[in-house]
Symmetry: C2
Subunit: 216 residues, 2 copies
Amino acid sequence: MPQIVSETMPGHAVAMLSGPTFAEEVARGLPTAITLASPERALGEALAHALRTPAFRPYWSDDVTGVALGGAIKNVLAIACGIVEGRKLGDNARAAVLTRGFAEMARLGVAMGARLETLAGLAGLGDLTLTCNGPLSRNRALGAAIGQGQRAAGFLAGKASVAEGYHTAPVVQALAARYGVEMPICTAVAALLHDDADVDATIRALLARPLKGEGE
Amino acid sequence: MPQIVSETMPGHAVAMLSGPTFAEEVARGLPTAITLASPERALGEALAHALRTPAFRPYWSDDVTGVALGGAIKNVLAIACGIVEGRKLGDNARAAVLTRGFAEMARLGVAMGARLETLAGLAGLGDLTLTCNGPLSRNRALGAAIGQGQRAAGFLAGKASVAEGYHTAPVVQALAARYGVEMPICTAVAALLHDDADVDATIRALLARPLKGEGE
């Protein structure tokens, strides 16, 4: 997103607001924290102070790449969490998908020049936990349908709303290949969405991967 | 915990299993991932292979400090999430507490010699998301009671079960002071539990802290 803004509006400053922020709760004045990213630190800091309210708390960052990637990849992982729900695999599995999925997000982000602290921040981990654990999001609803045996194309046909992760998953898979990063959960989601892979076989294959160290 | 085991059983190998693992789901054969930590890498790797099943997937680690800290600090943050629920502050606030609380866990852990990847792993972030988002845990129930205006001591009196975070919060606060690490959420929980601080004033004070950069 920031690349496209820079290309189409050259010479203009770029800043992004991203994080776990249901608009209705912000409007009701409930406490909200958010990342405000701009490559120009002074601009980010000034915008953060201009936008803050007693209940709306921005943290500034100059890592627009990390903010953009976190917001995009979390939609793919939300589909994975939905599949866990739809297949009734339990709370342990959902926490494992969030945690190992976050490790995938962090690996790709760092390889693309983002900072780990951004991916572990509000626009990455924060938005991921809201999307995977809050009220059913569009992406998670798509995952739940797949977990219950529907095809993605069938579920999406006739829906006016967009499940961004459907389009993001193959892009993330391509980026993982380009940067030489292992992303087994995102790759599995792409295969389930676009190649009609079998759900149970996909889950068995993920669990059967060779064991490894947590940071490897 | 690993320090105590080493002191009381000198000369014996130490290993720890920790992560988002409701026992009932493990017993039902639902997919579960967990960290298996031992300072002796070969032992950790051998135990991981011995304990794996088609649905139980251990990741080995040599970072016992990170695993022990993650499991302890998450209980304090679960109380914070419970307060958000009890006070009906919304899903944005819960995600913010989890994310900024994780940043506190990571700062203290790294200062104490743990690795960030362990704190972002199953025994840290994984257990944190399960405790904060899964079925109501004992720690979150304590937080919810405080959020609804009860005193901690009154809520806990006569309960047979233990809310570990009640005892951990002041210890975490002391460690933060000793290692010179800012932990505003954990410190606020300790004050609410042990100093009868006012809930609304505490939340206002957290939101009114000076704005800062996300990684600062």
